[in-house]
Subunit: 438 residues, 2 copies
């Protein structure tokens, strides 16, 4: 979640300027004070005390290499610290749990993942296993001088905006599950309520996995879509269900309650198959993993046999399709058609710059894309031939390079983002006792 | 269009603070300096010079009535001027042209409208007639001490973002029509290019009518939807075609090219009727005025006979439906069903707080709403029972009180908005020669 916009007070302006300096160094890599000043439009004299404060907080370091300098005394180049705060990302999947840590330079410094049969399990035991993974990662990075600055968790379900409550995660079987209490042992702070215990708790964010996949595209994707940086796109992510995230001007569109992006329940055949949501003919009935397995003549159990673990069923579909299994190829083409119909409506409504296929769809793209793009071309013809301000008439359809890693990486980067937006929230500098999750 | 965000320079902060003072007085009505200071979180000493500058520019006036004052010398209450700058809104409809002027207090000070057969006419003659109406309104308000501060024009078509070019307006038959040259006689300034001639030209904005209808809801609607102020909604506007505008956190979502909101081309029956856009089964084939007339057994010519002028066909449909004409009632219910399917997809994607029916739909709501709401309820059930942060589980469906007036009023308010966002752009104070459109 972004920090509250600072008011035009001296304190607010200072906070914003600290964030701009930190972000400039993070974006540029090693850079001189003059380089920072030029990038953010302040004077060198204005930048110097901000840099000093960030150095004292352990967020910036001097590389020791002399910066080229036109005039004045030469200074050492600046870089963001590879010690100090780290963003912790976690993922609760239907088939797996994963945790990773990312440092201020954006590098993954630790990562663990395990298979876990989370379908229709209670939140309690799932969160206990997740807490153990979090403790493992935290202990691992502590050795390298890193401390958790925030935790973000990706879940396959609807999350109430600005809360840690999973309102509905159909494939986990969770309803109205607040994750914060179950993570008390990792000392999280959620929506203003601290967990009991000593030390400063770290902020907790719970977020829909499609949203975090989109954030990963935004921070890391770039090349994925040949866009640098992508700022207006729809990110489609299919695992067991189908979700989407909508990014407008570089910001997630969350919806009034936080439930935006339910692409899986866009009607594609209004009089078609009944859906678990109560509607009929929803996209999910034609393009979800289960729908494709069914259409391809495979039961989920068959699909999982001999191929356990996350992504097993998707891997099987890809292998069968690559081997030329006609039923599977037809099923994937049908999913592409349904996706194309739903995305045509989406594109006509939102006029995005790109549609990015992430998650499982990335691995199945060769068999899904042709029919998807055909429908999209047919149904978004209103002004397909009109380029405006360098934006081509039809959105680019691209496959995410992050694939199934998107939500986890997006979570870790999102946990770090609050710090980049408000460096004073970093808490104690690295030479004070770290606020460790344990 | 909002002013470019000001940087954190002294000048930028002053600009922002001037805007905050002006907006505070505009929102509060007559208010003391202390009241302004309290509202925007500055000290009275900080507010005083800003107020003085706005008084000098003729944007604020002292009402002469003493403001209640706790301490210090009592001052006169402040109000925004009812002289000085006015926002000029214009509308190019398929059947009509209209112009109005709104003062800083938000009151309509002049308004003219004429019937005009603009369907498949060239831009040149249409813009000449519009220029004559603009001159009439400008002359009228000049007598009352008002001068045009900006002009915004509502058009039923796609407008390239940040330009004055109508890329495609199917019902006017316009393609790639830049409106600025045809308005040279009214001295407009568009996208950095001034028209020739003396004096300071006024800024020109050309905008899709659905977007301006939504802006009118945002500034004036409130009560329409029982929302105060509405900040996340989808505004549906049907005249000859069907368009929508999407408002997120109080801002229009325009799309990468400016073409967002093409609700009329969301597929509702993918294998259904062919559409002029090249697709099949688009909403417009089931819910546009023409589709309803056809389904109700009326030809457009029949519908217009004896009932000339803007809105004639809609008025006829409403009268027939009120008289119990079964074919017309059935046709309107069918349009409601199609709208409900398309809006269900929209709501699942965007999770808005409200769906507002504007334009012609407002007058036909009694016959459209029941089936529309039934489809919406059926197909947005994912989390319909979940209220989050006071947002109910299902968006409110409301009928605009502005109805067909929305786009014109939205245009005038939008023309004024740039000034409220950046009062220094006001140009000369009222005691200098006015920059008049002529």
């Amino acid at each position: 979640m972004p920090a509250t916009p600072a008011r035009d007070t001296q304190h607010g302006i200072r906070r914003r300027n600290l964030a701009r300096v930190l972000q400039a160094v993070a974006a540029e890599g090693p850079v001189s004070r003059a380089g920072v000043a030029a990038r953010i439009g302040l004077t060198r004299a204005g930048v110097a005390p901000l840099v000093d404060e960030l150095l004292r907080a352990g967020l910036l370091v001097e590389t020791g290499r002399a910066a080229p300098s036109g005039r004045g005394r030469p200074g050492s180049e600046l870089a963001v610290s590879e010690r100090g705060p780290a963003g912790i990302g976690a993922e609760i999947g239907v088939d797996h749990l994963a945790v990773c840590a990312v440092d201020l330079r954006g590098r993954v410094r630790a990562r663990v993942a395990i298979e876990a049969a989370n379908r229709h399990s209670e939140p309690g035991p799932v969160l206990r296993r997740l807490s153990a993974l979090l403790a493992e990662v935290t202990a691992g990075i502590a050795v390298e001088g890193l401390r958790p600055a925030g935790l973000a968790i990706a879940v396959p379900g609807l999350v109430a905006r600005g809360s840690s409550t999973v309102v509905h995660a159909p494939n986990l079987g969770w309803r109205e599950a607040d994750l914060a209490p179950g993570l008390a042992s990792v000392r999280v702070r959620s929506a203003g309520c601290d967990s009991p215990g000593g030390g400063t708790p770290i902020p907790l964010t719970v977020e829909n996995e499609a949203n975090l996949g989109a954030l990963a595209e935004l921070r890391l994707g770039g090349g994925a879509a040949g866009l640098a940086p992508p700022s207006d796109f729809v990110h489609v992510s299919a695992e067991i269900g189908i979700g989407a995230a909508i990014v407008v001007d570089g910001q997630l569109l969350r919806g009034a309650r936080g439930f935006a992006g339910e692409l899986g329940h866009v009607p594609v055949h209004p009089d078609g198959l009944p859906c678990g949501c109560g509607g009929r003919g929803c996209l999910e009935q034609y393009a979800s993993e289960e729908a494709v397995l069914r259409a391809g003549g495979l039961t989920p159990d068959e699909a999982a046999a001999g191929l356990p673990g996350p992504g097993a069923r998707i891997a099987l579909l890809a292998r069968r399709a690559a081997d030329g299994d006609a039923a599977v190829v037809r099923a994937l083409a049908g999913a592409g058609t349904a996706l194309g119909i739903a995305l045509a409506g989406t594109v006509n409504l939102l006029d995005p710059r790109a549609v990015i296929l992430g998650g499982a769809l990335a691995g199945l793209a060769p068999w899904i894309l042709p029919s998807l793009e055909r429908e999209l071309a047919l149904r978004t013809a209103v002004a397909a031939d009109v380029a405006v301000n360098g934006q081509p008439g039809r959105p680019l359809v691209a496959v995410s390079r992050l694939g199934a890693d998107g939500p986890l990486l997006g979570a870790a980067h999102s946990a770090l983002r609050a710090l980049l937006d408000d460096p004073l929230s970093a808490g104690a500098p690295t030479d004070s006792p770290p606020n460790r999750i344990r």
